[in-house]
Structures are given as structure tokens and as C-alpha cells.
Symmetry: C2
Subunit: 136 residues, 2 copies
DNA sequence: TCATTATCCTAGTAAATAGATAGGGTTTAT
DNA sequence: ATAAACCCTATCTATTTACTAGGATAATGA
């Protein structure tokens, strides 16, 4: 299941991508427009900023803005920042790899092969989808 | 994340598919061979039986066995039985559809479209993969 | 028939995670 | 200065996951 965190995070950056210009948008504005809890959204935007997706400006007239052009933001990166691994099992994850404790031989594991295929196809979609695609 | 339940369930049916014949195999045997907690596996096999994947026989010489030929068991069905929806969000699920409360218009939702693509590609893999494929 | 074997089934529990919420601290524009 | 906004850590509650307990039921065979 996709977490609300990821869902809200994507909605928020789509909202930013749809803005006419790149002037900062306040959390409260996005919260109202997209019906997302203010405090929850605050923490989500913070992680997006800490991971290089968003920039922010403090004080009056401040807010969040996209650091790159929407067409240069691919969803694989966004998914990893918000949701974590794209793979369904750690043992097939490219960026968050972990060995299974219950699996003596990874290559002999039936689950491993299947989940590697699923990861590949999902990853291809996320990599080839940009924020610009989602914002149209 | 794939649940342990699903992972163990797949391992168990792969184990059954690899048997020479279709005589019942005891839970305890699978539990030992695949290093899966006996009681947990018991409940997993029970749900597989209740959903038409496995048959069972009680009493001495009893156990679980596949109801169909491995090449006629597609993993989409197995995944739905064990893991639930294949889609990452209920609003794009074919078999477990639910409307989002926070989404006024589904077709205008950027997350919806992206997740529908992911569901399609995952589903294609699961549908085209049989238990026989995994057992080789 | 009766003891043994093995599944059936309901309920419960501990730990982790999700989804928020609280409440200040810090920075900036005016 | 003062108000506007983000920054940051901590906490809380509900749900889910992973697993456990313990008996009920059914089949086999001596």
C-alpha cells in the first residue's frame, strides 16, 4: 500500500508544478487546496526539502518551491524519498538492499526472481515519468 | 513491502509444486524445510485452502496438496489471496476498489494515473507467471 | 472402538508502523 | 520590533504484522 505520506507528497509537488511561477507557496495554502493536514504536510515537505526535491524560504513571503524544472524531476527519486524502496522485498532492492535471514540462497529463491521482475517494471515506469507528466 | 505471510505462502506452494507426486505434505514438513514458524504457516495454508489454491486431508497421512497443476496456477490469484490488492492504492484496484475520501475527482488525480500504470505492469507479470515457472 | 495423527479454528499478544498532533525555536520581511 | 513562515523534536493513538496458544474436529488403523 502506498502511504498517505507519499500520496500527499506527490499531490503537493504536483500542486507546485502547476503554479505559474516559482515563487514560494506556503504550506497552509497547499494544505487547504489539497485537503491535507497542515502539520502532517509540514513534515512531508520537510523531508522533500532535505532530500533535494524542494527548496524553501523562511519568514514572510516564504514557503516551498521546486528546485528543478518539473520535467527534470523523475518519480523514481520522489518515490524513494517518500516511500522508501521501490522493490517489495529488501533482497531485490537496488538502493536499500538487505539480505533475507530466512533465505539461504537468493538465486534459488522463487520469490526473489518474481519480485525482481516486478521491481524492474515498476522502476521503469517511475523513471520514465516526470513531475511534468503528472501535472498535465 | 511484501508481507512475510505472502512470502511464506509462496515458498510453501513452490515446495508443494516441486514434489514428485500430489500426496499430502504435512505442515510440519514444510515448516522444517523452509524454516517457517509452524503455527504461522498453519494459518497461511488455511487461507490458501479456503481460497481454492490448496486442498487438505485430515488425520494420519494427511496434509496439504495443490488442487491444480502448477502451470495452471497464476500468481496474480495467489498474490490477491495472500497479499490482498495488487494496486498500491484502493482507487485503482480492480478487485478491491474503494473511493478515496480526499480525492474529489479521480480522473484529475495525478497519483491515480501513475498508480494505474504500475498496477497494469505488475498485474501483467503476476498473470503471466505460473507456479510452474517459479518452481523450476 | 479408541488412540493417534493431523488439520481446523478462534482468539490473543507484542512489536512495529502509520498518521497524525503539539509546541515551541529560528529566520526573514517590513 | 513584530508578524509571518518554516524548522525541528517529541509524543500519541490506531492499525497492522507476525506470531502464539489451545483446544475442536476429522481420519486412519490396530
Amino acid at each position: 500500500m502506498l502511504s498517505k505520506k507519499t500520496k500527499y507528497g506527490i499531490k503537493a509537488i504536483v500542486y507546485l508544478a502547476r503554479q505559474k511561477d516559482r515563487t514560494p507557496v506556503q504550506i497552509a495554502t497547499i494544505s487547504n487546496e489539497e485537503s491535507i493536514s497542515l502539520k502532517f504536510l509540514e513534515s512531508i515537505l520537510l523531508t522533500l526539502r532535505k532530500n533535494g526535491v524542494l527548496g524553501s524560504k523562511k519568514g514572510k513571503g516564504g514557503g516551498y518551491y521546486l528546485l528543478k524544472d518539473p520535467k527534470d524531476i523523475n518519480m523514481a527519486n520522489v518515490m524513494r524519498v517518500l516511500e522508501g524502496p521501490i522493490a517489495m522485498v529488501p533482497c531485490v532492492s537496488l538502493n536499500f538492499y538487505e539480505k533475507c535471514d530466512d533465505c539461504p540462497d537468493e538465486n534459488a529463491c522463487a520469490v526473489h526472481g518474481l519480485m525482481a521482475q516486478v521491481r524492474d517494471s515498476s522502476l521503469e515506469i517511475f523513471r520514465n515519468t516526470t513531475l511534468a507528466d503528472l501535472s498535465q
